[in-house]
Structures are given as C-alpha cells and as structure tokens.
Amino acid sequence: MSFLLVFAIVLAIGLVAFVVGRQRARAQDDGTVKPHSRAHYHGWWAFLTGVVPAVLFLAAWDTGASAYLDSHIHASLPADVADGTVAHEDLAAGLVKSLASGMRRLDSQTLAALPQSFAELQPMLAAKGVALAPDTKDYMIPIAADANRVSDRLDTIAAVVSIGLALIGVGFGLSRISPRARARNNVEKVMLWSLLGASTLAILTTIGIVLSMLFQTIAFFEKIPLTNFFFGTVWDPRFAAAGSGGAEGQFGLIPLLAGTLYIAFVALLVAVPIGLMSAVYMSEYAAPKVRAVVKPALELLAGIPTIVYGIFALVTLGPFLRDISAALTGGTPFIQAQSILTAGLVMGVMLIPVVSSLSDDIITAVPRAMRDGSLGLGATRSETIKRVILPAALPGIVGAILLTASRAIGETMIVVLAAGVAANLTLNPFEAMTTITVKIVNQLTGDLEFNTPQTLVAFALGITLFALTLVMNIVALYIVRKYREQYE
C-alpha cells in the first residue's frame, strides 16, 4: 500500500473521529453540567489523538525503511562488488534500485516467471517505458526482486501499524469525552507546539545552509589545500574530465573576490549618492503630491527582477557603451561589451531604491526638534540637512550602506549576464572581471559529478560568500538597531 493512500486513510479516520466526537460531546450536554469546552474542541482532540501519532510513526518508519532497504541491498551484493571501492558499490546499489523500481511496472504473470538474464528482461521493461543503464548485470535481478519483496513487506507493516495506531488513538480520544474534560486546553497545547515548530524553521534553514555547505567544503579542502584557495591568484579549474582525478585545476579565490568587490564598489558609487539624494529630496523638499507619484515610481525599480536588469545590460547598455567608446577613439572600442563598468552601473541602479528606502527611514527617524532648532537659528534647509540631519543620521546611513553592499556582493543574475566569465585581475573598469556568484553558477550548471573539486569548489565559494554577507548583515543590523534606540 502506498504512503499516500495510508496517509489518506489515516486522515479519513481522523475526520470521522472529529464528527463522532463533536456529536458525542453535544449529546452529553444535557444542561445539568456546564461543559468545559465547546463540542468541536472534543472533535478536534479526537482527531489529533488519532492522526498525530499515526503520521509521526509513518514519517519515522518511511525514513527508517529506506535506510534499511539500502543496507539490505548493499549486504546482498556479491562479495567481489562489495569488496570494491565505495563508489563502485554505490553505483551497483543504484542500478539495483532503478531495476527494482522498473520491475514494479511489470504485471504479476511476468514477475512470476521472471527471466534471469538482463538481455531478456530489458525488452520487457522497455515495452513499459522503463529505460535502464546497459551495465545492469544479471545477478542484480534476484536482488532487485528480493528488494521489492522486502519493501512490500515493510510497507504492509507500516500500513497496518499506522492504521492501528490511528484507530487506538481515536478510541482513546473518543472515550475521554465528558462534559468536564479539558479538550480545549489539549487542542491549544498542540497548536502552540506547532506554532513553535514553525518558528524554529528559520533556525533549521540557517543550520541547513551552514551544514550543507560545510560538508562539501570540507570534502573540497581534502583535495585542494586551504592556502591554494584563499591565497591563490589564478582561477583555472579546468573541466572535470572522466578519469582525470580532477586535481589539476587551480582554484584561486583572489581574482573572484577582487572582481566581486570592484563591481560592488562601482555599484555603490552609483547607488549611494543617487539613492541618498533622492531620499533627502523626498523627505525634506518634495511636495506631498510629487512624493505620492515619484516614490512608488522609484520603488518600481526594486520590483523589477534582477534578470531583467542583467538582460538590459547584456543586450542594450553593454553594446551601447562599447559603440560609444569606439566612436570616441574612432575605431577600436576601449570599453568591452561585458565590463565592470556595465555591470556596476546597472547594479547601482538596481540598488538605488534599496539605499533610498533605507535612508528614508533613517532620516525621518531624526527627531523633529533637531531640525527645528537648526532652522530656527537661521540655517537654510540644505545647511540643516548637511550639518545637522546627516551627521545625526550617519551611523544609520553607514548601516544602510553596509546592507546595500551585502546585496551587491550577493547579486547574481546581473553579473552572470553583464560582467563576463574570465577571471582577470585588473584595475581597468572597462575590462571584464568575474565574481564569486558567477563562478558558483558556472561550476554548478550542466551535468555534475559530486565528488570532483570542480563541483565542490562552488560550495567553498558559497560558504565564503555566506560568511562575508553574514558579517556585513550582522554589523549593519546592529548599527541600525543601536541607532534607532538612540532616538527612541
């Protein structure tokens, strides 16, 4: 019986229990005793006592069963395969598994007289639309058939036990219904626990991010020494050719880090003055009517997906800058179509609304009294802004710039399309440079083998990026929070 079917049956039992429970609670309410909980709480409690244990058991059993099945297949592989390398054994086990899932589609007559050679079996499976790797061996057929039998048995046990659990739970829940039973408190306790569980998901996600990247990164550093990665100035990972062992490439972080920071710097050069000035104008000068139109228009920039910016840089701005530079020198362009300048400019525009909305919050948080004091002493508005408001808001603005910088460093699609893929070390903003995010995408698109350094390096890059942005975010959030407290 399939997992989903069992789940559906358990749910159905629970729903019946809900209806019966509610009915019973209503019937018991004869007006003599004041009931503690309303009838539907009794129904829900019966539902929960039935469904929750059954579903938890089902989930645990499912995880355990697949692990057990794995070890069962590994154990039944012939000795000469099992003695081989781990990778080889995993491969054989994988073939057995796909063979077993393919054999599920055969009808029972064919299964009863199962051919013992793969050459005979393959056309039968192909007729059912199952394509299998040609290096499936004859000895795998009985193992696969056995695996299917074992997993059938495990599934039957799971179905019987979980349905049994559901029935017992429902019986328990229904038997406890009485006017003074504290059904509402019980239901609310379960609700509270599930709310708590939902809020821990944020922590689980962070742990997941760190752990998933950490394991792969450790595997990477087992093949490539730390110093080569962090201090290497050459990025040339080569391609993971089959059988090459893959250790030939060079994985220097420096050119990627330099490109990332350079492009982010150019982007900030565009975004900070423009964003800050528009925030200042918006909060200090603009008439309410102008503000009502211009502010959402600028926020449109934030709503446009970054891939659209990237395409604009690739298709329009890059060629345009190249042609202009060609026209200036009268022939050879000195700005490449994919360059730091193009990527930085476009990313800068993307960040304008980020800077301006963050600074807007910060500027409006400066107390009215400081503004009025300065104006009352005869300063002009711009003097008030430059000498009073901005200095007072400075810590907050620094925090905002840090947050923006972390966005710039982690931005992917614009640089993938507009910055180029060559890992140069250059100071010329008209040339192409590449970034950490571009290389993560490059190394992980296409067919992957998971144990080559060419693939694993992406996780090392990812954890570097994560650490970099994490530090910036924490510092920025700390500064912004401190700043807010200062004026509250």
């Binding site: 609310e188 509270l192 599930s194 709310l195 708590l196 569980g197 939902a198 809020s199 998901l201 944020a202 922590i203 996600t205 962070t206 997941g208 991010i209 998933s212 990247m213 394991f215 792969q216 423009i274 800050l276 000035m277 528009s278 104008y281 918006m282 000068y285 211009v294 228009a297 600028l298 920039l301 709503g303 446009i304 997906p305 970054t306 891939i307 395409i311 604009f312 690739l314 298709v315 525009v349 304008i352 609304p353 002009t380 711009s382 430059k386 947050l403 982690g410 992917t412 993938v416 995010t437 995408v441 992980l444 698109t445 996780f459 990812g462 994560f466 942005t469 994490l470 975010n473 959030l477």
Partner: protein, 438 residues
Amino acid sequence: MTDISLDTLATSVARPRRDIGLKKRYAAERRFRLYGVLAIAIGLAFLAVMLTSIVSKGYTAFWQTTVTLPINFDEKIIDPSNKRATDPNVLITANYPKLAEAALIEKLGIDPNDKAQVRKLKGFLSDSSRVQLRAIVAADPSVIGTTRNVDILAAANLDSAFKGQIDLDVPESRRKVSDQQVEWMNKLKAEGVMAEHFNTGLFSYGASSRPETSGVGVALIGSFYMMVIVLLLALPIGVAASIYLEEFAKKSRFTDLIEVNINNLAAVPSIVFGLLGLAVFINFLGLPRSASFVGGLVLTLMTLPTIIIATRAALAAVPPSIRSAALGLGASKMQMVFQHILPLAAPGILTGTIIGLARALGETAPLLLIGMVAFVADYPKTPFDPATALPVQIYMWANEAERAFVERMSGAIIILLLFLMAMNIVAIVLRRRFERRW
C-alpha cells in the same frame, strides 16, 4: 534693562547690515535642491529607458507570421507504397514538409522542375509543418487525398523580414533572407496569404531549437507549480511562526536567536538558497533535478522571512485594546489570536505574501543551481517532472545567438513584468481597500 536695550538700539542703527553670505548660501541651497531633482530624474530616466528598450524589442514577439496554404494531402507523398493500413509508422515518418513545399510551389507559380528556384524556397517555411501536418493526418486519416487550407508558420528569418526587422539594404550575401525570398514574400503579402497573427504559440510551446516554435508554455506551468507550492507552504508556516513570535514567545535567548536568524535570512544572497537546495533536497534527500517541486521548496525558504516580517508588522499593528477586550470576555489566548487578531491582520498578511510571491516569481539564481536550466519540450504533468521557470527561460534565451530568440526573450520579459505588475496592483488594492488605521 532699559539702558541696555537703548544702547543696542543705538548701535544697530549705526552699524551696516553684516554680510552673512546670503547670496552664496541661497545659491548653495538651490544647487542642493537641484542635485536631489537630478538624482530622482536619473533613477526615473533609467527606468523609462530600460522599459522602453525591452518593450520596443519585445512587443513584436506577440505576432507571428503565417502562410495560409491549400495543402493537398497527396497520397503519393505521404504513403507512396500504400502500406499505411498495415504499418502505422508510415504516417509518422512521412515527408510532411514536402506537402507544404509543394503547396507553396503551386501558390507561387514556380515550375516544380526548376531545381534552382525550388532550392531557394528552403528556409521559407518553418520545419514545424512536419509536426503540424502529422497531427492533422493522425487526427483524421481520411484527410489523405483531399485539400485543406492550413496556416503554416513562416521560418524565423522570414518572420523577421516580414516584420521589417531585417535591413534589406544590406548586400544579399550578408543577410539571411535572399532577394528572391523577399520578392515571394511581398507577392504572398499582396495576395493576403502571408500575414501576421497573434502569437498564441508563444504561450503554448515549450523549448525548441527553432525560434518560431519555442515559447514559454512549459515555463509558465513550472512557475505556476512553484508559486502554488510557495503559497501552500510559506503562508501557513510564516503566519504560524509570526504568531508564535509576536503573541506567545516570551523574550528569551531562544526567541532572540530566532529573530536574528530571520533578519539574517532575509538578507542572505538568493544563490546561497540554491546551494542549500542542491546539497539538501537533491543530493541528500534524492529529490529529482529540474523538478518544480524542489524549486518550490527553495523559493519557500527564500520567501519565508519576507512573509514573517510582513505578518509580524501586521499583527503588531492591531491595537492592544482588541486583545484586552477578547480576553476580558473570556476567550482563551489561542481564541483571541485566531478569532480576533488574525482576521484583522489578514489584509496586511496577504499584501506581504503577494509581494513575497512576486519576488519569488522573478527569482532566477537559485533555480539555475537546481537544474531548472533544462531543455524541456513537454508539459510537466506533475511538480516532480522536469520543468523550467519563466525567468530561467528568459536566461536560456539570452544565451542564444539568433535574433529571433532575442525577440522571444524580450516578449517573455514583458509577460513576466505584466504578471509582477498584476500581483503588485492586487497588493496595493488590497492594502487601500482593507487596511485600517487605528
């Protein structure tokens, strides 16, 4: 008192007005204002340039040139040895493009034996006529031997030429459409046989190596699955987490940790979520690559912080008097939250959710890592089948060299932006209509 004021009065009359550089200061004031206006103007100008550039490149993708031809389903071409009754493969492998070519030859009045002329017809009609005509024959084999009008797609280059996107002043050898083909094209146009129609194919086709038969059909379905998954997972989990943090959690180390975590996750680069998806969902849990289910899970994790932050703001905006009133009338805390606070906060929560969904819809980077960059021609039947997403399809077309793909790409961007605009408008309307100021 009195003599001091007299004293100052006397001197102030005598002293000339001190020059405090007012002129300069006012000039500086004007300049500062101008900078502000300039900054805003630059931002808006860039927005305008970007949108016009995309729309002007992409609006033509919504039209497609077709040639209406009387196709004679000639038995001699489809089934020369008359074996279709016994061998079903005959109808599948028949030379259907030849039917379209023969119809075109007749329409243009070319001598079928003039090999040089016939060769110039190559690349006039799309090769998709094979699939199209085969479908007609497969649906109704009795059509063989009769003649029927069929709209055949023009090949991508002819489509561009028809829309006037190919510069015909360039020497013939350097463009992809020959003079002869242009002459034929004009002839067919004059007869009204060749015309532009609304391009429904753009919305229904999947990936294809031919621009005229490629579309965002598969990508739309993939994106739809992902949005449904994000909505089903992120909304309940996000709301539950916010309720706990805002209404139940006592301030402790643990809740502080959760809060710092959520704020950080909101600022983690999206590509890192892609790495998480690749390592955990695909490599560790063994879920299929390129599946919209995995994409939906990754986008859920990415959208959760946005939804949580918006929901908490909406919950916090409900005034405490509502809480006190509910509790005072004997509601339990859980009843107070679910029956009073949550309905009042719903507009704010929905607005935040829609904005989060809009961001998830436009997100590309994490999807590249979990294998959504795939050539998928068939519609995914379930979220576990290979699919692409709208922004990923745009990215894939951006890597194609042909001009016609750039047109499709810009068309797809317009579709994406329209979706985002619709979602944002819904969010704004919701906010305007239902938000209460307390």
